[in-house]
């Protein structure tokens, strides 16, 4: 396990004041918030920043982290040999004397912590519910993001979805338990929608009912299609003569291939709409074919001759609109 430098993650000095840390954290959190940021790795960065912030903004956790860090640094300095320098393991009993009260988010919304964090703060930080047999309480609702294929939304599907869920073991301690759920993906589901699985969340306390599980649906990126809400887009390459003269071509859709009429005189970028062939529903989405004119290569004498014959028979000037002015 690598030692995580939370100070470096936030770009602050080890002796930074709580205000400095807060400021640096907020700035980075805003920058990498996955709902705002366009950075490709925003989600991963946001998670790292969140974890660093969770530790360094909490005086108890920061003190514990600093203590573990300086102990680790001493071991490094004592020369435990090269090759070991990346390895970090919390020294036994290091956390004696620290009691984590857990901040406001002791609601068990299990933030996905790194192994490093888990090793340091482990269960103590997870705000595990204490066993109180006389208490009856509904279990917590859980959330998980799942990726499905666009085709599943067209046809509906049953998918085994594997989740690591926080659960209580026999002694009432929080553990991560892997389970596979056979989930019915309803036909017509769209990205960003949620599936609710009643009673599949956290277990209730006492005779309280179990919580619900919410699955946040997203699509795997598709080789051919772009999705926008209910509508689906395909870039369809056509030859110049197909666009100019019109043609009947076949195009794939997630529902199988369709015969498509390209109107004569089409230009690149023209959108042909197949009404109701997007994601099914009420109303169903539309399927758009966006024409992309593909130029045939001119790498054979025959192809060159064809281009030359075409040029000879045409007075087409692609730059006509540029003429007659430098202003």
């Amino acid at each position: 396990m690598k030692f995580k430098d939370y100070y470096q993650t936030l770009g602050v000095a080890r002796d930074a004041t709580p205000d400095d840390i807060k400021k640096a954290y907020r700035k980075l959190a805003r920058k990498y918030h996955p709902d705002v940021s366009k950075e490709g790795d925003a989600e991963a960065r946001f998670k790292e920043i969140g974890e660093a912030g969770e530790v360094l903004r909490d005086p108890e956790k920061r003190a514990a982290y600093d203590a573990a860090g300086s102990q680790w640094a001493r071991q490094q300095a004592a020369g435990q040999g090269p090759g070991r320098e990346q390895d970090f393991a919390p020294p036994p009993g290091w956390d004696a004397g620290y009691e984590f009260s857990g901040r406001g988010d002791a609601d068990g919304d299990a933030r996905d912590h790194s192994d490093f964090f888990e090793a340091l703060f482990g269960r103590a930080a997870r705000g595990q519910p204490r066993r109180r047999p006389e208490m009856h309480m509904a279990g917590q609702d859980h959330h998980a993001k799942v990726l499905i294929d666009l085709e599943d939304a067209y046809q509906g599907a049953q998918r085994g979805i594997s989740l690591r869920m926080p659960a209580l073991d026999d002694e009432g301690r929080g553990v991560l338990q892997e389970r596979v759920l056979d989930v019915n993906i309803p036909k017509g589901i769209r990205e960003g929608q949620h599936l609710r699985l009643a009673g599949q969340g956290g277990p209730g306390l006492g005779s309280g009912p179990a919580g619900d599980l919410y699955l946040d649906i997203a699509f795997n990126p598709h080789r051919l299609y772009r999705v926008d809400g209910r509508d689906v887009y395909l870039d369809l390459p056509v030859a110049p003569w197909e666009a100019a003269l019109g043609a009947s071509v076949s195009a794939p859709t997630p529902d199988g291939s369709v015969e498509l009429t390209i109107p004569a005189g089409s230009v690149g970028g023209r959108k042909l709409r197949l009404k109701g062939k997007g994601i099914p529903g009420n109303p169903a989405g539309d399927f758009y074919v966006v024409l992309a004119i593909a130029l045939p290569p001119s790498d054979t004498p025959k192809a060159k001759a064809a281009y030359e014959a075409f040029a000879a028979g045409s007075d087409f000037n692609p730059r006509a609109h540029l003429e007659g002015g430098t202003r």
Binding site: G50, G108, H143, N184, I185, Q193, D212, Y214, L215, Y233
Partner: protein
């Protein structure tokens, strides 16, 4: 490892959440959700909090509002503004995607 099987509901289409259900689903205190309603972050139907029914898409909005509140320390009017701006960004990005740029 065990396998389970069951049917599912699409929150955005089949489900209307009560105040208590929404709070449970997004792990937000009731007081917080009431403030969001006052600020227009969420717009339930129903006259009183007991009668409030939140449409399915409120779940995503409430979860986002909670992140902004907790992770970025933004107050309720700020959350309302941020969510409106995010909606606008989403609409613009969708427009870009339709144009084949995105």
């Amino acid at each position: 490892m065990s396998r389970y099987q069951f049917t599912t509901e699409v929150v955005e289409e089949d489900v209307h959440l009560s105040l208590a259900e929404l709070c449970r689903a997004c792990h937000a205190p009731e007081e917080q959700v009431r403030v969001w309603v006052i600020e227009g972050v969420l717009e339930p139907v129903g006259a009183s909090p007991q009668e409030w029914r939140f449409k399915g898409p409120s779940l995503r909005r409430a979860r986002l509002a909670l992140t902004l509140t907790r992770e970025l320390d933004i107050n309720a009017p700020g959350v309302a503004l941020a969510l409106d701006l995010m909606d606008e960004i989403a609409a613009l990005r969708a427009e870009l995607r339709r144009a084949g740029e995105g």
